[in-house]
Symmetry: C2
Subunit: 498 residues, 2 copies
C-alpha cells in the first residue's frame, strides 16, 4: 500500500492541525505583508528541494512543517490576519476548514450525479437553503425550477453566465460560434472579470460597452443602458448580457438592479448580477434592499469565500432556469454516458461549469452554516458593517481625512487632506498607504476615484475586531501627521528633504 497507514495519518494529521492552530493563534503578531524580494523563496527552496532535483526519498512530515515555517510563512501575505484590510477579505474560517478536510478525506469527484450523488445533492440543498436565506426568491431554487452551484470564482461564474447568454441569444452559437454582433454592457466600475469573460468567449474588447453612471454616482444609469442597447440594436448588433454589480470592487457602488433588468428585458438581454463581495450581506434583512429587483434577473453570484467564512474556492452562482447552463455547456462523450443522466432526474454539475472535474466543495459551506448558524453569519456581517460605520465616523470627524466615496457595508474609501490641494492629497494618501503597509500592522490597497488616489479599507477578516480598526485609525493618523510634518519641513528647507 503506497499510502499512509490510517494510524500514522492520525498522528501526522494531529500535527498538521496543531500547526494550523499555532499559526492562527500567532497570526496577529506577524507582519500582515512580508518584506521579501522577488526570487527569494525560489532561491531558498531550490536549495533544499532542487539539489539537484526533487528528492528521491520520502522525508518526514516534520521537515515539511519546518520548511513551511522557515520559507513560506515569512514570505506570505497573511490574508487571515486581523489587520488585513486589502482587496476584499478571503475568509477561511476554521469551521470551513473542517468541511474542506472532510472533502479531501472523501476524495470524491462530483462531475456527474452518478460519480457522487451526495456531492451533488448536498450542494443542491445548501444552495436552495441559501437562496431562501438571502431572499433571492423561490425561482432560484431547484424546487422552483432554477438552481445554484458552487463555482471556483466570480470570474468563472460571469463566464458561464455569458456563455449561457450567448447560447440563448443565438441558435447558431454552438455550431458557428460568435459572429461579432454580440454586445455586453458594464460600467467602468464593473469587475475586470467581465472584460476577461468577454475576451475568453471570443467576443473581443469591441463587444464591451461601458455604460455611463447616473450623474453624481458610480452606479450604472438605466437610462444610459437603455439608450446604448437601443442604439446597438438599431445598428444590427445584439445586446447579449448586462452585468449589474452589487458592491463594486473599487468603492462598493451598487447598480440599480430592478431598473437595469427592466431596461434589458426590452432587448432580451441576459442580466447577470455580480454581487461577489456584497451579496452575502443580504442574509441580514436590513441589507436586503441591495438585492432589490433580483427576482427579475437571469443569474446571481455572490462569493462565500470572500465575506462568508468559507475558504476559497466557493463562489455561489444561481440561475432562474436550471436548464440554461447545461444547454450551453453540455458535451457528452461515450465514457460519461450513464443511466442517471439519461433519466433526466439528476443534475450533473459538470454541465454548469467549464472544468469537467469538481471537488465536494459544498462540505465546507455546509460546515460554515452548521458551525455558525444563520444567526452567526449575520453577526459576522453586522460586526464588520458596524466597524466600518465606526471608522467612517472617525474619518468624517477628522479634518485631516475625507471619505473618497460613501462607505458601502464594510468598505471605507478615504483620502488624506493636506490643505495643499488634490495633488498633494494624492501624494500624501499614497505615502500613508505605503507606510501603513510597511509597518506590517495592517494591509491596505488603493483605488482611484474620480481621478483621485484613495485608500480602501475593506473590513472583513474573520478575526478583525474593533481594536484592530482602532489601531489602524491611529496608525493612519500618525502616518498622515508624519506626511504633513515632512511636507511643511520641505517647505521650510527643500534642500534638506533628500
Amino acid at each position: 500500500m503506497s499510502d499512509l497507514d490510517p494510524e500514522e495519518f492520525r498522528r501526522l494529521g494531529y500535527a498538521v492541525v496543531d500547526w494550523i492552530a499555532q499559526y492562527r493563534a500567532g497570526l496577529a503578531d506577524l507582519p500582515v505583508r512580508p518584506d521579501v524580494e522577488p526570487g527569494r523563496v525560489r532561491e531558498q527552496l531550490s536549495a533544499t528541494l532542487l539539489s539537484p532535483g526533487l528528492p528521491e526519498e520520502p522525508r518526514p512530515l516534520t521537515a515539511l512543517l519546518d520548511e513551511v515555517d522557515r520559507v513560506v510563512v515569512p514570505a506570505s501575505t497573511h490574508w487571515q490576519h486581523p489587520g488585513f484590510f486589502g482587496y476584499f477579505p478571503a475568509n477561511a474560517s476554521l469551521h470551513s476548514l473542517f468541511g474542506d478536510m472532510l472533502s479531501g478525506g472523501l476524495g470524491a469527484q462530483g462531475m456527474l450525479w452518478t460519480t457522487s450523488p451526495a456531492a451533488t445533492e448536498v450542494e443542491q440543498v445548501l444552495l436552495d437553503g441559501l437562496a431562501a436565506a438571502l431572499g433571492l426568491g423561490p425561482e432560484f431554487a431547484f424546487t422552483g425550477g432554477g438552481g445554484g452551484s458552487i463555482q471556483d470564482s466570480a470570474s468563472s461564474a460571469a463566464l458561464v453566465a455569458l456563455l449561457a447568454a450567448l447560447n440563448r441569444s443565438s441558435p447558431e452559437w454552438q455550431e458557428r460560434g460568435v459572429d461579432g454582433t454580440e454586445r455586453v454592457y458594464v460600467t467602468a466600475e464593473t469587475h475586470s472579470s467581465l472584460a476577461k469573460a468577454v475576451r475568453v468567449a471570443g467576443l473581443g474588447a469591441r463587444a464591451l460597452r461601458i455604460v455611463e453612471p447616473s450623474p453624481g454616482s458610480l452606479a450604472m444609469s438605466p437610462t444610459a443602458l437603455a439608450d446604448a442597447m437601443r442604439a446597438d440594436a438599431d445598428a444590427g448588433l445584439r445586446p447579449v448580457l448586462v452585468c449589474a454589480t452589487v458592491g463594486t470592487t473599487g468603492t462598493g457602488a451598487v447598480d440599480p438592479v430592478r431598473e437595469i433588468a427592466r431596461a434589458a428585458a426590452g432587448q432580451g438581454a441576459w442580466v447577470h448580477v455580480d454581487a461577489a463581495w456584497a451579496g452575502v450581506a443580504a442574509l441580514c434583512p436590513e441589507h436586503r434592499h441591495l438585492l432589490d429587483g433580483v427576482e427579475l434577473v437571469d443569474s446571481f453570484c455572490t462569493d462565500a469565500h470572500k465575506w462568508l467564512l468559507t475558504a476559497f474556492d466557493a463562489s455561489l452562482l444561481w440561475v432562474r432556469d436550471a436548464a440554461v447552463l447545461p444547454a450551453a455547456l453540455s458535451i457528452t462523450p461515450e465514457y460519461l454516458r450513464n443511466a442517471a443522466t439519461q433519466s433526466g432526474a439528476v443534475v450533473d454539475y459538470r454541465d454548469w461549469q467549464v472544468p469537467l472535474g469538481r471537488r465536494f466543495r459544498a462540505l465546507k459551506l455546509w460546515a460554515v452554516v452548521h458551525g455558525h448558524g444563520l444567526s452567526g453569519l449575520r453577526e459576522h456581517i453586522r460586526s464588520h458593517v458596524a466597524l466600518a460605520d465606526e471608522l467612517a465616523g472617525l474619518v468624517r470627524a477628522d479634518p485631516g481625512f475625507t471619505l473618497a466615496a460613501e462607505p458601502s457595508l464594510s468598505l471605507v474609501c478615504l483620502r488624506v487632506v493636506t490643505g495643499a490641494g488634490p495633488e498633494a492629497d494624492d501624494n500624501a494618501t499614497r505615502t500613508v498607504l505605503e507606510r501603513v503597509n510597511a509597518s506590517g500592522t495592517a494591509f491596505l490597497t488603493h483605488i482611484v476615484v474620480d481621478g483621485r488616489y484613495a485608500i480602501r479599507v475593506a473590513i472583513g477578516s474573520v478575526t478583525t475586531e474593533s481594536s484592530h480598526v482602532k489601531a489602524l485609525w491611529k496608525r493612519l493618523r500618525t502616518e498622515a501627521a508624519g506626511c504633513l510634518t515632512k511636507s511643511s519641513d520641505d517647505r521650510v528647507d527643500p534642500a534638506t528633504s533628500g
Copy 2:
C-alpha cells in the same frame, strides 16, 4: 471573535482527522458505488437542514460528522476505494491532504505574486522540479524561459492553451475576437474538454476538425493532420491549435507527438499535449518514450490529481514561453496594480488562468513529493502498470474474454466473448459491467471501441493492490459465466426468461 478559539479548533480538528482515518480504514468494506435513488439525499438532508430554512443557531461538529455518516457516506461513490476502476483514478492520498490542510490554514490568495509571494514561488519551484523529473526539457522550466502552473483541471488547461494560441495567431483577437476562420485539430478519441474549449472560446463546433487515425490504430495520423491543415490553409482558414493526446480517455491511445509537432510547425499552429492521465508515468524512465517529441510543443498538461497522489484539483500545465499566457489573459484594473507586477520580476499566476483568485495548491503537491519522494511516486505508477499487465495476461489467456484494445499503462479495456457474435458479446459485456457494479465490490466504466461496447479497467486508486485486481478478475469471470449460462438457458426455453 467570530471564529473558533485555536484550542477548540485543535480539539475539533483532531475529531475530523479521526473521522478521515476511520473512513479510509473502513473504505474497502463499503460498496464502491451507492445504491441510491435520485433525490434521496435531498430528501434526507432537507428534513434536517431546511426545516423550514437553514438552521438559525450553530450546531456541534459531532452533529455534522453524524450527518456525513448518515447521509453522505451511504450516497457516495467512493473514489478512494481500492475497488475503484472507473473513469480515471482521482488519487487523494493522505499525504496530499496534509498539504491541502496547510493551504486552508494559511488561507492565502495567490492571484498576484504580491498577494502571497510564497504561494507563487513554491509553485514555480515545484513545477520546475517536476518538469525536470518528467524529462520535459529545460525550456519548460522558468529557469529556461518557460514555466508551469497548477490549473484546476485539464479542461481549463486546454482552454487557456487555446486562448494563448488564438492570441498568437491573430493580433486582432483581443480587440475583435474570433473571426470564424480558426480551426482546431483533434481526433475522435480526444477528450471532450477540447470540444468544450472550442465552444467556450466562441469558435463553434465547425472549427473542430476531427483528424483520422493512422490505419489500424486510434492515434492521430500525422499525414492526415498535415493534409487537413494544408487544405484548410488553402481555403483561407487558420490552423490555430492541434491537440495531441498522450493516453486517451477511452483506451489510452497515444498520438505521435513528434510527428504532429512537425506537421503543425509548417502551419504555425500551437501544439498542446493533453497527457492528463498518462503524463505522470514519464517519471519512470521506461515510460518516458510516451513524451517523445514534447520538446517541440507549446504546452503540455498532466494531472497530479489523477494518478499522482494529489487530491483534486491539481492539473499541471507547462508552456515553453512564460509570456504567452499573460499576453493572452492579462487585464489589469487599478485595484490590482502593484510595484512587484510593474517591476516585471514576478509571475502573477492570475494571468495564467481564467479565474482571478487561486488557492495555494502547490502545498498539496509539495506534500506529495515530500512524503513519497520521486522513488515513491515511481513505485506508485509502476505497481499499477504491473497490475494492469497481470490483468491483461489473464484476459489474454481466457477464451471467455478478449482485449478490446492494447493495454496502455494501467488501463485495460476488455470484452466478454460469448461465441455468439459481436452483438451478443456487447450485451454480455454490458451485463457483466452492470453486475460487477451492482455487486459493490468494484466499479467499472465503459467505452465504445470500433463500435463495440467494452469495459474499461482503469487501475490507479492509491490503495489498489494485487488482491483487488485478482478479486475483480474473479468477479468478471463469475458474472460472465452467469451471462453465458443465462443466455444458454434462454436458448433452451425463451418463454421462461422473463
